[in-house]
């Protein structure tokens, strides 16, 4: 009803994924000294991928209907 929920979720996680990926690049020193490796970069990319998959599913569903 109203909207396909995959769209806002996909958009949200795509944007958050991009923000976290950039934060991983920008705060590289802090992340590595705190955690030993650049986890922010990895997690940002994972979230970005999740967001894009959701957006993809949304477009497939929309084309079908």
């Amino acid at each position: 009803m109203g909207i396909d929920i995959k769209y806002p979720i996909g958009l949200f996680f795509t944007l958050v994924g991009i923000i976290i990926t950039i934060s991983g690049l920008y705060h590289k020193q802090e992340v590595i000294s705190k955690l030993g490796f650049n986890f922010s970069l990895i997690w940002g990319i994972v979230m970005l991928a999740f967001g894009l998959i959701m957006l993809g599913l949304h477009y497939i569903a929309r084309r079908k209907s």
Binding site: M1, G2, I5, V16, I19, V31, W43
Partner: protein
């Protein structure tokens, strides 16, 4: 703790999205059914996630991490025995009556099956408890953001309350459900890094088990007597108190969760809702219990508390409620910090919105339409629902400040819930599966069950007549007492009073309901099949962590 621009961006983006969802759903709301029941149109995977997310409020997420820091893996019992079996039961056996009877709320089912006074008792107690819960949620949030970020208590409370108000006001239940899905995913993405980074720091699961005492890492092997485990409880209280009465009382009768299933598009989707929710619920200990156990080792004050306990046998006075915020601070660098904080915010807001949507429905249908203004047109009740949303949020804010002055109210909340929820499950069990149960039986059963729970707590436990290993253990046994008293009273009084004629109970009682929902759906979507998978997987988890 200092935030960077990235952290603020994530928080602002989150606020923007929840409001946007409410705004775009505004156009879809035309009738009161759209507003309170999402027009019964939502697919099962969405209602399934909302089913468990509505319960993922602040007390749940932070409370379970805190519990795990205090009691270790025993906290997983709240999931594997305290939720999954009940979720399977409500999906397979009870949902056909909730959904099939076309009742719009749990109290309304009680009116259809029994009578007005039984509904009134449930509707009023539920409405009051729901708003209290919502207020406590806000209070917890204000405190956390003040401690973590130095934000003003009033600012955090008012801003989040207004955001919840706006998205529920415009989009009703659909908006609440859609946002719960977003919030659920955020909680998962926000908590995963803590579990993962924590395990990495302590050197993996085996190392964690090695460094914690045995009774912190085993589910059942220390439950043979109350003195052997930190929770101070033995298997009987665990299985019957938590696993049977409290768990079934909550997951099968609490309108907050049942409402999510009523929003499903058809009866099969309604039955699948709790079963689909059970899968992520089963895995949730990874996101809350594991971090709590890690916190014991990596947060210095918890480590000291454990050492004291092992050396002297006395529990140190530590505030475990801060376990999750402290972990967020410990593990998340700037950027990810915003994600972790947004996950916390999401849990506070989904907790509050769930309570507000359940409140506005029960208020409008079960109190306002029944006792105050019956017989008005649908537009009027839609308007009333929106007003009830505003009223519910305002009262929640007021209660937040009351909780601030009566701090121990929070401790009494679980107890109050057990007073009302535990007997209710006996009423439903008899109402749905025994057609001889009468209205008077149900009403007096509920009243005596609730009174028995209160009497057990204040006159027997607090007066020192019976001793329990812990407050939690007392709570579990109190629930058993309430359930048994309600169950027996309902049966006895039912035999003394006249039952309703059979034709008035079609679609309300098991033996009088045609099984029309067994149509041609593939076997892997059948509730029985899903329930079997869920239960077998849960059994395996119990054995692995025995």
């Amino acid at each position: 703790m200092a935030l960077s621009i990235f952290d603020y961006l994530i928080i602002i983006l989150y606020f923007g999205f929840v409001l946007g969802i409410g705004y775009f759903l505004k156009k879809a709301i035309k009738t009161s059914d759209d507003y309170f029941l999402s027009g019964r149109s939502i697919p099962a995977w969405i209602t399934g996630i909302a089913f468990i997310a509505a319960n993922l409020g602040a007390l749940e997420v932070m409370g379970m991490v805190a519990n795990s820091a205090k009691y270790g893996i025993l906290t997983a019992h709240f999931y594997w025995i305290g939720a999954i079996p009940a979720m399977a039961f409500v999906g397979v056996f009870m949902m056909p009556f909730y959904y099939g009877s076309k009742a719009r709320s749990v109290p309304e089912y009680l009116r259809l099956r029994f009578d007005e006074k039984t509904r009134g008792f449930n509707a009023i107690s539920f409405a009051v408890l729901t708003l209290l819960m919502s207020g406590i949620n806000m209070y917890a949030m204000g405190i956390i953001f003040k401690l973590l970020l130095g934000w003003s208590f009033h600012f955090s409370v008012i801003v989040s309350a207004v955001i919840v108000l706006l998205y529920v006001f415009f989009g009703g239940l659909t908006s609440s459900i859609y946002n719960e899905v977003l919030q659920f995913l955020l909680i998962v993405f926000g908590l995963f890094p803590i579990s993962y980074l924590g395990l990495r720091e302590v050197g993996g699961w085996n190392e964690l088990v090695k460094r914690l005492p045995d009774n912190f890492t085993h589910l059942w092997s220390t439950l043979s007597s109350a003195s052997q485990n930190p929770m101070g409880i033995e298997w009987f209280g665990m299985i019957f108190g938590l696993g049977f009465v409290l768990s079934f009382g909550y997951w099968c009768t609490d309108f907050l969760v049942v409402q999510r299933a009523l929003a499903s598009k058809d009866i099969n989707a309604a039955r699948r809702t709790p079963l689909i929710g059970a899968f992520p619920k089963m895995l949730f200990p990874f996101f809350v219990v594991l971090p709590g156990m890690i916190a014991i080792l990596v947060i210095p004050e918890f480590k000291t508390a454990l050492d004291t306990l092992l050396k002297t046998g006395h529990t140190a006075n530590v505030n475990y409620n801060m376990a999750l915020p402290l972990l967020i601070k410990h593990y998340l660098p700037r950027g990810l910090l915003g994600l972790g904080l947004t996950a916390l915010l999401a849990s506070f807001m989904s907790g509050m919105a769930g309570n507000v949507t359940a409140f506005n429905t029960v208020w409008t249908f079960d109190i306002y339409q029944s006792y105050i203004r019956p017989g008005k047109d649908d537009k009027h009740y839609l308007w009333m629902g929106k007003m009830a949303t505003v009223f519910g949020v305002l009262v929640s804010i007021a209660l937040t400040y009351i909780v601030m002055y009566f701090n121990n109210l929070m401790d009494y909340m679980q107890l109050l819930f057990s007073f009302f929820n535990a007997p209710l499950f006996a009423t439903f069990l008899l109402g749905m599966f025994w057609k001889r149960a009468t209205s008077d039986g149900a009403f007096w059963g509920l009243v005596s069950g609730t009174s028995a729970a209160a009497a057990h707590y204040f006159l027997i436990y607090k007066a020192g007549i019976i001793h329990y290993g812990s407050e939690m253990s007392a709570n579990f046994y109190g629930a058993i007492v309430a359930w048994v008293v309600c169950f027996l009273t309902t049966i006895i009084i039912s035999y003394m009073t006249k039952p309703k004629p059979d034709e008035e109970m079609v679609k309300l009682v098991y033996s009088l309901t045609p099984k029309e929902y067994k149509d041609n759906i593939p076997f892997y979507l059948k509730p029985g099949f899903l329930a079997a998978i869920v239960l077998i997987s849960t059994l395996i988890l119990n054995i692995i962590f025995w």
